[in-house]
């Protein structure tokens, strides 16, 4: 964890504590007749389906901080972490909330969880508020593996199918992204499970796996550790400045992108005008220099995608993922 990220996390936690305290004193805020119609009436609870410290959590906390500092909303965002069950617990908690002030901050793991049948709800259970940027992963091999480009890897795998071991989290993003590329390029790897980024790094460094998927920031932190890593392909739509030499899959002729967004979702029964108020605040907050700096430092892409576009994009992707899931299961 970088120092900025850590201090941001701590600030964010202090903030949510302050927000929790203000929750206890609703009479202080509002009270006039006109304020009754305004939204939000109280702090907005943002459920994050992961434990504190990961990207989804930090982005939510940083945006919450900007929104509060700039007064973009009359009440702060309170980040609530609910880890576990591939997001099923957090998603269900957001859907079951009936206070009109609960939203969910997740990413495209929801689509995968839906495609794998882990959750009994899909994107249509929510109102999509929008994407606040996102990030893409790389495929990396050991630095001394002798494979320098994706073409080397693909050639080897086409010559001898299943001759290279790919470390994946079964039924999670690395599994699906690898499967998308394998399907497009027509090769086959042998798969070994390694359910966290740290596990995958251990497998690669110890020579027990040949290929693994890493978030771009994970790759940047680990590429010089214990034998070193070499990224052969980047799954983003365009190259990024942090790893300028790594080509995208598209450049290499494979129509595969995985740009996992930070996705803000509200339960479907939240009035559209309320979702729009939050969307406006998030969109403005995204332009803040502190946000732009965090995204750049962590090899992420800072952009804003409005809710309806985000929804359409995600539903189209879900169809592709369902096809892959049918093969995986």
């Amino acid at each position: 964890m970088s120092p900025t990220r850590r201090s941001a996390l701590r600030r964010g936690l202090a903030l949510s504590l302050a927000a929790a305290l203000s929750l206890a004193a609703p009479l202080v805020a509002g009270g006039t007749a006109s304020a009754q119609e305004a939204w939000p009436q109280k702090p907005i609870r943002v459920i994050v389906p992961f434990k504190p410290g990961g990207r989804t959590d930090v982005v939510a906390r940083l945006l919450g901080k900007v929104i509060e500092e700039k007064g973009l909303l009359p009440h702060p965002l309170v980040i609530v972490n609910m880890d576990g069950g591939g997001g099923a617990i957090a998603g269900r908690a957001a859907l079951d909330a009936d206070d009109g002030h609960t939203v969910l901050h997740w990413h495209h793991q929801m689509l995968i969880a839906n495609a794998m049948g882990l959750i009994d709800f899909g994107p249509d259970a929510f109102t999509s508020i929008g994407f606040t940027g996102g990030g893409s992963p790389v495929w990396a091999v050991r630095a001394d593996s002798g494979y320098e480009t994706l073409a080397d890897v693909v050639d080897k795998l086409k010559e001898e199918p299943g001759s290279l071991v790919e470390a994946i989290g079964i039924g999670s993003i690395p599994h699906f992204v690898g499967a998308l590329l394998a399907k497009e390029a027509g090769f086959e790897t042998r798969k070994v499970q390694a359910n966290s980024g740290a596990d995958r790094l251990k497998m690669i460094a110890g020579g027990n796996a040949d290929i693994a998927l890493f978030a771009a920031s994970e790759y940047l932190n680990a590429k010089d550790v214990a034998g070193g890593l070499d990224a052969v392909v980047f799954f983003g739509p365009n190259r990024i400045d942090n790893i300028p030499d790594v080509p995208t899959a598209k450049e290499l002729g494979y129509d595969v992108t995985w740009a996992n967004p930070n996705w803000w979702l509200a339960p479907a029964d939240m009035p559209a005008e309320h979702a729009a108020i939050l969307a406006e605040a998030l969109k403005t907050a995204m332009e803040d220099p502190s946000i732009q700096e965090y995204f750049a430092e962590n090899a992420l892409d800072a952009y804003w995608t409005p809710g309806d576009e985000a929804q359409a994009e995600s539903e189209a992707l879900l169809e592709d993922l369902k096809e892959i899931a049918a093969e995986i299961r």
Partner: protein
């Protein structure tokens, strides 16, 4: 590497180290409150802390907690923590004879010495072991975990059968949730809350803290006898010559037992005590207030901590129950304990080693300076203590994921832990089974995936083969000795006829 020691000499780490160790000693000294309980309860408080500070605090509590147990063991014949059971054998008779100060002094000095020796092993062995462990693949990890489970089940108190029952039950409770190898739900019985499985922290707090509270509440009216602590401790330089060899041997035994995955401080103390008696010229004096007995037990139980930290930071495998919680602490801070910790987060890996040394120093100073006052804390009114702890349990379980389900899990495991102990099923294997089952399962299935389903590739890996045969030998040892004993008995009978 020196940086880690220098980094420790800063206000925050020093403060956390002092608070952790002092708290550990106090909690450890109160019969009925244990180091594992304290660590499980303070873990939620460390979520917001820097990873190094969090580990500093928890390791301080660990060392303090194991050491603090010696006070009640000496004065009241009640092991403050399970690790000091062996200390009661000789320290209490000494205290009865009016040599309480001497017994406490020896025990504190022995604890410190054990800590220092095992710190030496920890500092020297960890980096090369981490490099070796990096080459370990799924088969090695699977067989290592297997070995840990089998050793724990067979060496914990009571019968092998009950140990195995405990371990299997623990493993069973680790099953619900998402199957790691096919990404599908299993054993959730259709409850959405079960999709995340049963979380480590609520299970630990329940099994260790809540079950203990149940026990404490049932005996809440039992008053502890009052004893006079006297002027504190009595120990001198002459003891180095008198007890040196015994202490060194016990420290090495303690470190070695700690190093073996799965077994902890109480077994270390037991083995060192038994060895000291075996090699002694006056074995009959053990158990009657014999100084070497105190030295052996207290050196070994503290030394086992340093030993147990070795597999923890180099392989990510808990050397004892308490370490299972420490692993949880690292994971919560997004750090994967294991061979890469030295490469990716050297400040944490070396920080753990440095904190261990620091905690031992703080422990000895704090104990020597204030043992008289700590001894009075044993008499804190139970009802207040127990209710405050129960409140911390609930807050701690809820804080993990902000949901009440975890609190129910914790309370349920409090009851389960209580009844398991009533049935003489040891809790150690139960909890370690719960912690290790997911690792064993993931590694076993990963190994089969990489060998395309062939289990015999295990024997192509030398380390894995050794670990496998050690586990099998440990498992069958009781049956073999039983057979031998019976055969010898019958042949003796035949001779006589």
């Amino acid at each position: 590497m020196l940086d880690a020691y220098v980094a420790l000499i800063a206000p925050w780490p020093l403060l956390y180290l002092a608070i952790g160790t002092a708290l550990g000693i106090v909690i450890g000294s109160i019969p009925g409150l244990t180091a594992s309980m304290l660590i499980a309860l303070t873990l939620p408080l460390t979520f917001q802390m820097d990873a190094t500070n969090a580990m500093t605090l928890l390791i301080g509590e660990y060392v303090g907690g194991i050491s603090g147990g010696l006070i009640a063991a000496t004065l009241l014949r009640m092991p403050g923590t399970p690790a000091s059971i062996m200390t009661t054998f000789d320290a209490f008779p000494m205290a009865q004879r009016g040599e309480g100060e001497r017994a406490l002094g020896l025990a504190v000095a022995a604890s410190f010495f054990g800590g220092l020796v095992s710190w030496g092993f920890l500092a020297v062995l960890s980096p090369p072991l981490a490099r070796l462990a990096l080459t370990f693949g799924p088969w090695e990890y699977f067989t290592l975990v297997l070995m840990a489970l089998v050793m724990l089940a067979s060496l914990s108190q009571g019968s092998l059968l009950k140990g195995l029952i405990g371990a299997c039950l623990g493993m069973l409770f680790a099953m619900p949730g998402i199957d790691p190898s096919i990404g599908q739900l299993r054993l959730t019985f259709g409850f959405n809350d079960m999709t995340g499985g049963l979380n480590l922290l609520p299970v630990l707090i329940g099994t260790f803290a809540v079950s203990q509270i149940i026990k404490d509440v049932l005996t809440i009216d039992v008053a502890l006898p009052r004893v006079d602590v006297g002027r504190g401790v009595k120990v001198g330089l002459g003891d180095v010559r008198r007890h040196g060899p015994n202490a060194l041997r016990s420290a090495v035994i303690g470190t070695w037992v700690g190093l073996l995955p799965g077994i902890g401080a109480n077994i270390a103390a037991m083995l060192a005590y038994a060895t000291a008696r075996q090699v002694s010229r006056e074995p009959e004096k053990f158990g009657t207030g014999h100084e070497p007995g105190v030295v052996a037990a207290e050196t070994a139980n503290n030394a086992s901590i340093g030993g147990a930290l070795i597999p923890l930071i180099t392989m990510g495998i808990p050397g004892s129950v308490t370490e299972a919680i420490l692993i949880g602490a690292l994971i919560i801070h997004n750090l994967q304990p294991g061979p890469l910790l030295f490469a990716t987060n050297p400040e944490v890996a070396y920080g753990v080693i440095a904190s261990y040394l620091g905690a031992n120093l703080v422990m000895v100073v704090f104990m020597l300076a204030s043992i008289r006052w700590i001894a009075r804390l044993m008499y804190l009114p139970r009802p207040y203590l127990v209710s405050a702890i129960l409140m911390f349990c609930v807050v701690g379980a809820f804080a993990l994921n902000n949901r009440f389900f975890d609190v129910w899990v914790m309370l349920a495991f409090g009851a389960i832990g209580y009844f398991l102990e009533r049935a003489k099923v040891p809790l150690g294997p139960f909890v370690i089974g719960f912690v290790l089952a997911p690792i064993a399962e993931e590694q076993f299935r990963a190994a089969l995936m990489s060998s395309a389903g062939d289990p015999f590739t295990l024997f192509t890996r030398p380390f894995a083969t050794v670990f496998f045969f050690v586990s099998m030998a440990t498992l069958s040892w009781p049956f073999i000795t039983e057979r031998l004993r019976r055969r010898r008995a019958t042949s003796h009978g035949a001779d006589r006829r």
